[in-house]
């Protein structure tokens, strides 16, 4: 007898199904127990590109380190999506920029927006105090270091294009109807508390990701209302990224404005500036952090330490490096207007 009908073998035999479920459960349980038993952070030496190039890096470290670092960047993108109620963004192409297509710009009560909007009010509040005092109001606000977002925060373009950019006709309209898409000014931002797990996971996956610590700590402190956790998160970031200008500046700013601990904040600003001096090529985030370190150190010397000459020296050095930095210019102007200077 030839070609007797035979059914194709199933994907799994019935007896294998409980085995599969058991294996998955065992893996999850092992992960949970492992986490419980090993609470120490993962060694920071696993995850930077430079680390991966070290001659003593094992293949496992190289492979897992790279994979986990990539995954952490994906998580940061996911965080961005969560922050904007599911809307996805993409960078603008060179031609789009040349044609004057502008980035999406938000002016909302968001972490990045809030810090930028509060920067000037905070500094103004600080100016009105007597030296050595910090206003209670000023301590309620922290500010991140994205100076390019003076009144909000900006992105590239939305992944779903607006009608004037869209050549797809009816399909474009349907795309905008079924996917999260922001018409001008209508966006409702997601609950920032929902983002906390993403920052936490991002840093678990890649402890050498300063931006995740900086923004995450801000969200934890401002929106989760947990100052202690926010500080601990930043301190963890500092332990993991001892050479990061951004984390040093953020922790210094946290200690200065939220904790009123200028003595602890000063060395952090000083170290951030020292790192900035040594580094020739700074990223945009590092430039923003460094300039903020100068202005905060100048304020600290002036208002907390009552050391006007030191504050002026910081301003001079900062303005040599960042001649267009308006906040520092203003501090210098105020300092020079003081009697006796």
């Amino acid at each position: 007898m030839k070609d007797s009908p035979r059914s194709a073998p199933p994907l799994l035999r019935p007896a294998q199904i409980p085995l599969l479920a058991l294996t998955l459960f065992a893996v999850a349980l092992a992960g949970y127990l492992g986490r419980r038993l090993h609470n120490e952070p993962v060694s920071p030496s696993l995850f930077t590109y430079a680390d991966l190039r070290d001659s003593d890096a094992t293949p496992v470290v190289a492979l897992l380190g790279e994979f986990r670092a990539n995954l952490s960047y994906l998580l940061m993108m996911k965080t961005e999506q969560y922050l904007h109620s599911g809307i996805r963004y993409r960078p603008l192409t060179r031609r789009e920029i040349n044609l004057g297509r502008e980035k999406i710009h938000h002016d909302f009560e968001l972490p990045e927006a809030q810090h930028a909007a509060h920067r000037e009010t905070e500094e103004a509040a600080v100016y009105q105090q007597r030296p050595g005092e910090h206003s209670a109001q000023s301590h309620d606000h922290d500010h991140e270091h994205q100076h390019d977002h003076k009144h909000g925060h900006s992105h590239g373009a939305q992944m779903v294009p607006p009608p004037e950019w869209d050549r797809r006709g009816i399909f474009g309209h349907l795309d905008r109807a079924v996917h999260p898409y922001e018409q001008e000014g209508e966006i409702e931002h997601g609950d920032t508390r929902e983002m906390l797990p993403w920052y936490r996971l991002t840093t678990y996956l890649n402890p050498r990701f300063p931006k995740a610590y900086v923004i995450g700590a801000f969200v934890i402190a401002s929106y989760g209302g947990k100052l202690d956790e926010g500080e601990e998160f930043l301190r963890e970031g500092h332990r993991m990224n001892p050479e990061s200008i951004e984390v040093k500046e953020a922790l210094g700013r946290f200690l200065l404005h939220r904790r009123r601990k200028p003595a602890e904040a000063k060395p952090l600003f000083t170290q951030a500036i020292a790192l900035g001096r040594k580094k020739a090529d700074l990223t945009q985030d590092e430039i923003a952090a460094l300039s903020s370190a100068y202005s905060n150190l100048a304020l600290l010397e002036w208002k907390s330490n009552r050391d006007v000459p030191a504050a002026l020296a910081v301003c001079r050095e900062g303005l040599e490096r960042f001649p267009d930095y308006a906040a520092l210019e203003r501090i210098q102007r105020e300092l020079l207007a003081l009697p006796g200077t």
Partner: protein, 262 residues
């Protein structure tokens, strides 16, 4: 009930039972339950407020499982019947090839809808346990998903007449999962080519118009982020689009099947 309808119903039922007997559905259900339930383990990392995360991951798992099951189950319908020669007694009933194709279409679609219903129930249960809310838009999402499944089933049936089983599965999955990327990128590519190669740009745009846009039937992101329901006009337009596309694909499949020597 006319004889033809009874025959058709029998074929639909047989297709559904045959697929259920293969146990792929159970395996995927358990796997998806493990994945969705596994997201709950994240709370052990000391984080809370995971409703959106739970919905996001779970809906992703539901969509992937349903689409993979739908494509793989539909892709084996015709080749298997031909290979095992069970097609001949069916066609000798008498049953026309068109009726056979329609029976296979509805059988596969019914399987996909049953699977979707099970996965959706699983998702709703986990979302409920996780404290996540599911609004009216979730019902809309399920409706649009069923529409997209009808297009997927028709497309896979059509491709199964001209491609081998493996090629059919791979190409269909690429079209289903790559639709969103293609849809978004075509606009940008056209924009970039507008000046340098306008003809290529136009050609790409026409390719875009004629390829199925499965991404338009996916409301997952709006469900996850609690957006308000979409308008009736949008649902109507998508219903028309989905049904028209399904019909065209079935007609093309019938034209191919009619001339195909078995």
């Amino acid at each position: 009930m006319s004889g033809k309808l009874i025959t058709l119903r029998g074929l639909v039922w047989a297709t559904l039972l045959e697929s259920i007997r293969r146990k792929d559905l159970y395996v995927l259900l358990i796997l998806s339950l493990a994945l969705m339930g596994g997201t709950g383990f994240i709370q052990f990392f000391g984080v809370s407020g995971l409703e959106q995360f739970l919905k996001d991951i779970s809906l992703f798992v539901v969509n992937v499982c349903v689409l993979v099951l739908c494509v793989t189950a539909t892709a084996r319908q015709l080749p298997r019947e031909i290979e095992m020669r069970t097609l001949f007694p069916l066609l000798a009933k008498p049953m026309s090839r068109a009726e056979y194709l329609v029976g296979k279409f509805f059988g596969s679609l019914l399987l996909a809808v049953v699977a979707l219903a099970l996965f959706a129930a699983e998702f709703a249960l986990i979302a409920h346990i996780g404290g996540a809310s599911l609004g009216w838009i979730f019902a809309q999402a399920l409706y649009l998903r069923i529409l997209s499944l009808s297009v997927v089933v028709a497309m896979v049936l059509c491709l199964s007449l001209v491609l081998t089983h493996s090629a059919n599965v791979v190409i269909s999955l690429m079209l289903v999962f790559g639709a969103s990327l293609f849809s978004r990128s075509i606009n940008l590519v056209y924009f970039e080519l507008e000046e340098t190669s306008p003809l290529v740009g136009k050609a790409l745009l026409w390719v875009y118009y004629f390829t199925p846009h499965f991404d338009l039937f996916d409301l997952s992101e709006k469900v996850v982020f609690d957006w308000p329901p979409v308008s009736w006009a949008t649902l109507g337009a998508l219903s028309l689009y989905g049904l028209a596309y399904t019909l065209v694909l079935l007609v093309v499949a019938q034209l191919i099947f009619r001339r195909k020597s078995i």
